[in-house]
C-alpha cells in the first residue's frame, strides 16, 4: 500500500539547474573547437613557472615578423566588423592595448627578445602617436588576418581570436603544429579582460599549448553566468514593459 502524499524529492529541479549552468558555460562559438580555451596538444617537460612576458607590436602590410621572440601571437579578426560585431571588436582591442604594453617598452627596460611573447596586430599602415581602438579597427588589415588564420584548422569567420605559435607564421597557409588558441568571439564582453588574462597566463608558460583547465573552467563558468545574466536582464526589461502595457488597459 502506498501513501497518497508521497514526497517527491526535488531531483528534477537540481537536474534542470545543472543543465542550465552547463548549457550556459558552453560557449556558442561557430564550432565546438572555437571555445575560448587553448587547443590541447600535450607537450612534455612543462612547468607552471612563468617564462615569458607579453608585449604587442604592429604587423604593418608588407612587413614581416621580427625574428628572435620565444613566442609569436596574432590578434586576428575573422571578418570585417558588422553592426553587431563592431562593439566586441573595439572592446577586445581596447582590452588588449590596455593590458599589454608595446614590446619596445619591455625591451627598453632590459627584456631579452627570447623571453618575450609578441602579440602582432595586423594593420595597413604604421600607426601615428596617440591612437585608440577605433583607429586600430579602421586600419586593421583584414586580408592579412585571413591569410594568417588559414594556418590553423577551422573556419574562423568571427573573432577576435588570438593564436600563439613558436615560430613566425610568415606566408600563406603555413601549418602551425603546436599552438594556443584563444577565441573571444562568443564570450561575454564583460569577461574580455578575464579571458585576456587567461591568454597572458597561458602564453607565459613554457608549455603554452597545454591549457590550465581549472582557470579555464573557473572563467568559463563565470562567463556562462554572465551571458545568462545578460539574457535575464533582457527578460526583466521585457516583463516590465509588458506589465506597463497591461496597466494601460486597467
Amino acid at each position: 500500500m502506498t501513501s497518497r502524499s508521497t514526497p517527491v524529492p526535488p531531483r528534477r529541479c537540481w537536474g534542470l539547474l545543472l543543465l542550465l549552468l552547463v548549457a550556459c558555460a558552453t560557449p556558442a562559438g561557430d564550432e565546438v573547437e572555437d571555445s575560448p580555451e587553448a587547443i590541447e596538444e600535450p607537450a612534455g617537460g612543462g612547468t607552471d613557472l612563468p617564462v615569458r612576458e607579453t608585449g604587442f607590436d604592429w604587423l604593418t602590410r608588407g612587413s614581416d615578423e621580427v625574428p628572435g621572440f620565444s613566442l609569436y601571437s596574432y590578434f586576428l579578426l575573422g571578418s570585417r566588423p558588422t553592426h553587431s560585431t563592431r562593439p566586441r571588436y573595439l572592446m577586445a582591442i581596447a582590452a588588449l592595448l590596455g593590458r599589454v604594453p608595446h614590446v619596445e617598452k619591455l625591451t627598453d627596460v632590459g627584456c631579452e627578445l627570447t623571453g618575450l611573447n609578441v602579440t602582432y596586430i595586423p594593420v595597413l599602415e604604421p600607426p601615428p602617436a596617440g591612437i585608440d581602438e577605433r583607429w586600430v579597427l579602421d586600419n586593421y588589415d583584414f586580408e592579412r588576418a585571413r591569410i594568417l588564420l588559414a594556418s590553423f584548422p577551422g573556419r574562423h569567420r568571427r573573432g577576435p581570436y588570438i593564436f600563439s605559435v613558436e615560430s613566425p607564421l610568415g606566408g600563406l597557409g603555413t601549418p602551425a603544429s603546436r599552438h594556443l588558441k584563444q577565441d573571444l568571439s562568443s564570450c561575454s564582453t564583460r569577461l574580455l579582460d578575464a579571458w585576456i588574462t587567461v591568454y597572458l597566463d597561458q602564453a607565459s608558460r613554457r608549455d603554452f599549448d597545454r591549457p590550465d583547465r581549472m582557470q579555464i573552467l573557473r572563467v568559463g563558468i563565470r562567463d556562462g553566468i554572465a551571458r545568462a545574466a545578460e539574457q535575464v536582464e533582457g527578460v526583466t526589461v521585457a516583463i516590465a514593459d509588458l506589465t506597463a502595457w497591461i496597466n494601460v488597459f486597467d
Partner: protein
Amino acid sequence: MKSGAVTTVIVALVAVILTLAIQWLEPDVALSPGEYTLAVLGAVVMVVPLRTWWQRRSSRSPRDEARA
C-alpha cells in the same frame, strides 16, 4: 516564526552564498544586476522545492509514516 518568513530568510542566505561564489570565480569583474537576479532565482529554485518537501515530510502523521 511563520513558515514563509523562514523560507525567505533561507532563500536570502543561499542567494548571498551564490553571489559570493559567482564573485569568487572572477573577483576582478563586478556582478551585474542580472547576475544578482540570477543568484536569487537560483536560490529560489534550490530552496523552495527542498523546503516544500521538508514541510510535507514534517507534517505527516505517524499513521501516514506507518502507511509509507
